[in-house]
Amino acid sequence: MSGDTDLGLLAPRDGGRVDFAELRSQRRQRLVASMRDDGADLLLLGRPSNVAFASGARQLWTSGFRPYSPGCVVEAATGRVHLLSTWDSGVPAEIGHEDLFGLTWNPSVYAQRLKAAVDGYAASLVATDGWSVAGEQIVLAAVPEAQVVDATPILRRARDNKSPAELFCISTAASIAESAMSVLAALLTPGITGRQLQGGYAAAIASLGAPTPPTEAVAWTAGDPADPAGRPVRVALDRVLRAGELVAINPGAFYAGYEAGVGRTFVVGGTRRTGQRELQERCREALDGVISACLPGATGADLVAAWDSAGVGPSRDVLARGVGLGAEEPVIGPGRGSRELLSEGMVLSLEGWAAEEGVGGVLEQDVVAVGGDGPRVLTRYGRGVGGS
């Protein structure tokens, strides 16, 4: 990415670096092609990131997860997208007013509106990205004759392999996350509390115009020394950090809905002890080994093996997970995702954690694009840059 500059105030006037109308159009084409591959006539999406992928709408962010109900409809035959939105603000121009249906609290009104949206469209196979008792009643009231299947394979094929424009958005998110990293690193002085770190992180990304965090959990230390896995523990909001502690910081951010995050480990007060430096170097080497293994055709098991071969102890639950429009599949770790196959254009957040009793814990996290000519690291903070 050497030489790239990120978007600023003049982006709209200067055309920016991403043609968002084209980006949305490409995403929809991939989605519709993927639906046709599986013979699905309709996609009924409930998860906000899937709705954003299909519609391109910027919708109000709320924290956490709510049970499935369909908020976006994609027709395979026409490519038309219907969206649950009471207003057109944040809705891209290609989704017309006739494609919007309004918010309701009433399940029977909900079903009527959904039915009206797809009225006259023949659908025998419907794919959904979730299931709930109430959601199923709404779906079956709208498309009573249809067979309902899991949309995950359709979504994975459409979402896994990112276009260059999507990679650029992820890089821009990385630059916001790294700015927050810089703010947080400067805050790490003895006596700082978890609350101050949390407030500093939230303010840093918001002041760059990207207020919603992938997660507020941004600071970690080694947990219970008796825990054989030495798992990280989130720094409690009311905890006071002491001089000499190792603290892992992993801010993330969104740009245009795309996520990136970066993780590095610092000593509160600044001076690393020998054991701390060694642990950090070993963790870094281990993660670099995993990065090198991020090649098309590699499996989840290959990534875990790359980590294990470094001899810094077992990986924590998640070693690698997809990023794109937020957190995505695959999720890879010990006992999970071993058969996942990496392919060109996939973007992974790699998260290496190593802990040692009496020393502390170290996190190194980078975002990597799987490329035909090798892995491309999209995060920069603290890494040698300038061709070294």
Partner: protein
């Protein structure tokens, strides 16, 4: 508080003939277990979600999480590694846990069932958990009210610090930056919603376009500049120990900006509507009666947004039952009778086409005889004589 909630869940399960609960929604897990999860994008909440399993015979609820430190004290033996029902391996393990815990044929209620979990459950009947959750949650205990009051107090204190930032040229995201810094410093557990600082048009015709022809609100924040005299509808919410606040006020951009007499009269009308609703707010009164009191005080038209409600509850969700004046309809409102412990976030809207409108929110708990406020915040720059 956790023990009382567990008992309420169990008795609601017994009334509904439910033998077990499997909960995957963030708010529901928080209610069942007391786990205060950090604020999280929904995509992360899906792939790394806490899961609760409630069985009446157990010492407490089971919690599956990747963040063991979010489990409350005293949950030893009930906290498990993350469940991952989004993948086949994780879903199979969770289904097996459920099968081991409950006998075959037990009626288990779920709030959400990802496809892999549904496949793993095989032929097991899946019942909706909404009825049990609603029944347990609708009336708050004294401790729950204290958590809401605390969340609201911190939210309000942070807004006092944000208000002076509302100068010409400020961006919505700048206001957010000031707000989120202060909420964490002052003591919340998480932020619940991307804060809303929406400049309202003078006329509906100026847009945004809506499906119902009424006001568009809340529209997501951007980094656009706010201008002198903009009427800004503010809506923020934080959580304390899993309980949400809900802050709503109408502000005007510029430290010396004051409402016009016409705008001031909108506020007076809003105050009259609030007074009329509170005058009849007590146990035994139907939600429909509150709606009628509000409508009468507004000269016969409904003073709330058609896609929302006159009032909603707040708890481990920022909007939960009781919903009053929603499109569930008048028959629903008539059947909804106020009881002690219910919480009402009253949010009347006075729209006055040509001069924007006024909207604020205040929170009240229904007591044994009437109501008590859980919010307290100035209305500046309105109502200053």
């Amino acid at each position: 508080m956790r023990r009382e909630r567990f008992e309420k869940l169990v008795s609601a399960m017994q009334r509904e003939g439910i033998d077990g609960l499997v909960l995957l929604g963030t708010g529901a897990v928080s209610y069942a277990t007391g786990a205060a999860y950090p604020g999280c994008d929904s995509s992360r909440s899906v792939l790394d979600r806490p899961v609760a399993v409630v069985a009446p015979g157990e010492a407490g609820p089971h919690l599956f999480t990747s963040l063991p430190d979010i489990a409350p004290e005293g949950a030893d033996g009930l906290v498990h590694a993350t469940a991952s029902p989004e993948c086949d391996e994780g879903a199979a393990a969770l289904a097996e846990f459920v099968s081991d815990l409950f006998p075959a044929g037990a009626r288990i209620a779920f709030d959400d069932v990802p496809h892999p979990l549904r496949r793993s459950l095989g032929s097991r009947e899946v019942v909706a958990a909404a009825g049990v959750l609603g029944a347990a949650k609708i009336c708050k205990t004294v401790d729950e009210l204290a958590c809401i009051r605390r969340a609201q107090a911190v939210n309000e204190a942070a807004m006092l610090d944000v208000r002076p930032l509302l100068e010409p040229g400020v961006r919505q995201t700048d206001l957010t930056a000031g707000f989120v810094r202060r909420i964490f410093e002052l003591g919340v557990s998480a932020n619940c919603i991307d804060p809303i600082w929406q400049p309202m048009p003078e006329r509906l015709a100026a847009g945004p376009w809506t499906t119902h022809g009424d006001v568009a609100f809340p529209v997501g924040s951007t980094d656009a500049f706010l201008r002198y005299g903009d009427v800004v509808w503010v809506d923020t919410g934080v959580s304390y120990e899993g309980y949400a606040s809900d802050f709503g006020r109408t502000w005007i951009v510029g430290r010396d900006a004051r409402p016009t007499p016409r705008q001031e009269s909108q506020f007076q009308r809003w105050t009259e509507v609030m007074g009329a609703v509170l005058d009849c707010c007590r146990p035994g009164v139907s939600a429909l009666r509150l709606c009628r009191a509000a409508t009468e005080a507004n000269g016969g038209s409904r003073p709330w947004l058609p896609h929302f409600y006159l009032a909603h509850g707040v708890g481990t969700e920022s909007a939960e039952m009781p919903l009053i004046g929603s499109d569930l309809g008048e028959a629903f409102d008539e059947s909804l009778v106020l009881q002690p412990g219910m919480v009402l976030v009253l949010e009347p809207v006075i729209w006055d086409d040509g001069a924007a409108g006024y909207r604020s929110e205040d929170i009240y708990a229904v007591t044994d005889t009437s109501w008590t406020p859980l919010s307290s915040h100035p209305f500046d720059p309105y109502g200053i004589r």
